[in-house]
Structures are given as structure tokens and as C-alpha cells.
């Protein structure tokens, strides 16, 4: 069976291999592409099977919920004398603790690390074999001025405590005497004032003042009395 050019072009258009604009006039007169498309859609719709209702919910509702007995199956299958973990480890061929194996694997992978202290010591000019702990302790003791105390080990001279008490008492007495001698009220007690006149070598007063010199006894102090003229001042008796 052979197809005519018009029939071949019609099939190409229906299959999408050719556009309608590519058809020649003879083909356009022989058939209508829109009618063909509508016909195909009608046939496809007619051949579409009807929607079947789902029976899953009805079946499950009828038979109820079933829990798969996986745990029971594992326990039945596994050896009662061995744990499940052991059975699994045996199955995969691992006998030792996987955590320890992991640590060993990391150490093997990292390899042996060399100490960095020799490099640091060389950089700061220190001796590689120096005792750092002793060096730190010595520095701390020196900074804190640490003085080791031997409790009860040293014999204290018997006269130290009485002598120290004596020193404290004497110091307190001396301090009391010193305080009393420097107080405002105590000066008259300690100090001795030599009474008597003074020799006046020069005496000048301001223009607005007058002056009197009072000597009221051989042992009395000299009194220089200023009399301001703006306000008369009572003099001596």
C-alpha cells in the first residue's frame, strides 16, 4: 500500500512533523487540518478509560492494621547466646571495639608529631633542657617575696616576747608624750616660756596709726600696742 502525497502530508501534519503553513494548495483543498485535530481529540477522549474507584481504603479497613514482625524475626534468626551487635559485627567481619579502632585510625592517619619546644627555645634563646617548672616557681617566689615559714621548727629565744612587749609599751609611751607635747592644749605643759622684756631696736608705725610700748613689770613681756586713729582703741589699764 502506498500513500499519495496528499495523504503523506496529512499524516505529517497530524504527527507534528510538518506545519500547516508548509502544505501546498492541493493538500489544503484535500483536507482541513483543524477538522483532523478535532477528530483526533474526539477519538482520544472516546478511548480514555473511565476512572476506577480506589479500593485500598476498603481493603485495609477490612483486614485491619498489621505490624510486620521484623523484631521477632531478627530475634528468632539471631543466636540466643550472642547479642545483636555481636552478630552484626561478626557478620561484617569486625571483632574489636569500633571506637578504639576509630581512634587508632586517626592516630595512624595523623602520624607522630614532633615537639615544638626545641624550635621555641631556639627562637627565644633558651636552653632546650631547661627546667621550665622550676624556672616559673622561682620567678613567682621572687615576685611575691615568698618567705618560707617553718612552723615550730625554729627555736625562738625566750626573751624575745618580753622584749617585744617592752618595746611596744615604750613606743606607746613615747608616742603619748609626743602627742601631748604637740597638741594645742599641751604646749603649755611641756614648753617653758622665758618671760621678760624684749629690746626694741626699731619701731615704725603706719601713717594712720600710733603706737604705745607697754612694759608692765621686769618679767612681763613687752606689749606693743597699735592705736588706729580711725577708731580709738582702749589702751592698757
Amino acid at each position: 500500500m502506498s500513500l499519495s502525497p496528499v495523504e503523506l502530508a496529512r499524516l505529517h501534519v497530524e504527527d507534528g512533523l510538518m506545519a500547516v503553513s508548509e502544505l501546498d494548495e492541493e493538500s489544503l483543498k484535500a483536507f482541513d487540518p483543524d477538522v483532523d485535530a478535532l477528530f483526533r481529540a474526539t477519538v482520544r477522549e472516546a478511548l480514555r478509560p473511565p476512572v476506577s474507584p480506589s479500593i485500598v481504603h476498603d481493603v485495609m479497613g477490612r483486614i485491619g492494621t498489621v505490624v510486620p514482625p521484623v523484631a521477632d524475626a531478627v530475634r528468632t534468626e539471631a543466636d540466643a547466646s550472642a547479642s545483636v551487635v555481636g552478630a552484626v559485627m561478626d557478620r561484617i567481619g569486625v571483632a574489636s571495639n569500633p571506637g578504639r579502632m576509630l581512634g587508632e585510625a586517626i592516630r595512624v592517619e595523623g602520624g607522630e608529631l614532633d615537639s615544638v619546644w626545641p624550635g621555641v627555645a631556639a627562637a627565644i634563646g633558651a636552653d632546650v633542657g631547661i627546667d621550665l617548672g622550676g624556672l616559673l616557681r622561682g620567678a613567682i617566689e621572687e615576685e611575691s617575696e615568698h618567705m618560707p615559714v617553718g612552723w615550730g621548727s625554729a627555736a625562738r629565744p625566750r626573751w624575745v616576747i618580753p622584749a617585744a612587749a617592752g618595746v611596744v609599751i615604750a613606743a606607746a609611751a613615747a608616742l603619748l608624750l609626743w602627742v601631748s607635747s604637740t597638741g594645742t592644749g599641751g604646749s603649755s605643759v611641756v614648753e617653758k616660756i622665758a618671760e621678760g622684756p624684749v629690746d626694741i631696736e626699731a619701731l615704725e608705725v603706719g601713717a594712720a596709726s600710733a603706737v604705745q610700748v607697754l612694759q608692765l613689770g621686769e618679767d612681763a613681756p613687752t606689749i606693743i600696742l597699735i592705736e588706729e586713729e580711725t577708731a580709738p582703741v582702749d589702751g592698757a589699764k
Binding site: 625566750r158 618671760e195 615704725e204 608705725v205 603706719g206 603706737v211
Partner: protein, 153 residues
């Protein structure tokens, strides 16, 4: 016994300290220094009491014609020979004390009392060692100021 010995030794040590300090260089330094004290006393007739701290000079203050005396302040300073010190006292007045010279018996002291208006007094006196004299008269609060001036060395 030991305690008594300790007390005695300590007392000896403490009491000997001023003596030892006065010897040597300290003695020479103290010899050139005069401790000058200026008391400010308010004399007034509005009161009839002798104030505290004036016991040493009370009998001399009573020679002044005032009935009440009050110690207002005490100023002191160590002044070396050829040195001077100015004391500010009540009533906006100043007392300038200069040590001109000194010997074992006396010290020559110049005292200048000044107010805002000018010099009230300028005197040079020779004070016996550890002696004093009195400057009185500047008006103050209805009375006068009395200034006992001590020279101790």
C-alpha cells in the same frame, strides 16, 4: 625579769633617740632654725571669759583693758636665720616675721603687721631665747587683735 629588762632597754632606746638626733648635723640644723608661733587672740569687752588655751599668757592679757579673750588661731613655722615667713591672720591682716640673727641668748626678729590699707607696724626686737612679746591693737569685731609672738629655739 626578762620583760623588765626589755622594757628598760626599749625605754632607753626611745628616750635616747631625741638626744642622738640633736647631735651631729641635726644640732647644727636646729641651731639655725627658730620656731616662730603667732597666736591670734580676740580681745573684747562683750565677753568676760578667758578662752581655752590662753592660760600661759592670761596674766599678761589681763593688763589690757578688755574683759574677754578668745583664742582664734595658732600659726607656727620654723624659720631659718635670714629667712622670713608671712602669716595670714584674722581681719585680712598679715604678720611677716623675719629672723635676722640669733645666738644662744637672743634672737633678732623683725615683725611687720600689714593690712589692706598699708603697714600698721614694722619693728625689730631682740627676743630672749624661748621668749615672746605681744603686738596688740588692730581692730577686729568690736575689739582688737592681740598677737603673742613666740620665738623658740
Amino acid at each position: 625579769m626578762n620583760m623588765i629588762l626589755g622594757v628598760v632597754l626599749a625605754m632607753f632606746a626611745v628616750t635616747s633617740m631625741p638626744v642622738s638626733a640633736a647631735n651631729g648635723s641635726g644640732q647644727a640644723e636646729a641651731r639655725d632654725m627658730v620656731q616662730v608661733r603667732v597666736w591670734s587672740v580676740h580681745a573684747t569687752n562683750q565677753k568676760t571669759v578667758m578662752g581655752d588655751g590662753l592660760e600661759r599668757v592670761a596674766k599678761h592679757l589681763k593688763n589690757l583693758n578688755y574683759s574677754g579673750f578668745e583664742l582664734l588661731r595658732k600659726d607656727s613655722a620654723g624659720i631659718s636665720v635670714k629667712g622670713a615667713r608671712r602669716f595670714a591672720i584674722e581681719g585680712d591682716r598679715t604678720v611677716r616675721v623675719s629672723i635676722l640673727s640669733q645666738n644662744e641668748q637672743r634672737a633678732r626678729v623683725r615683725v611687720q603687721v600689714k593690712s589692706e590699707e598699708g603697714t600698721l607696724l614694722d619693728t625689730t626686737v631682740s627676743i630672749r631665747r624661748n621668749g615672746f612679746f605681744i603686738v596688740a591693737g588692730p581692730r577686729y569685731k568690736g575689739g582688737i587683735l592681740v598677737l603673742p609672738i613666740f620665738a623658740r629655739y
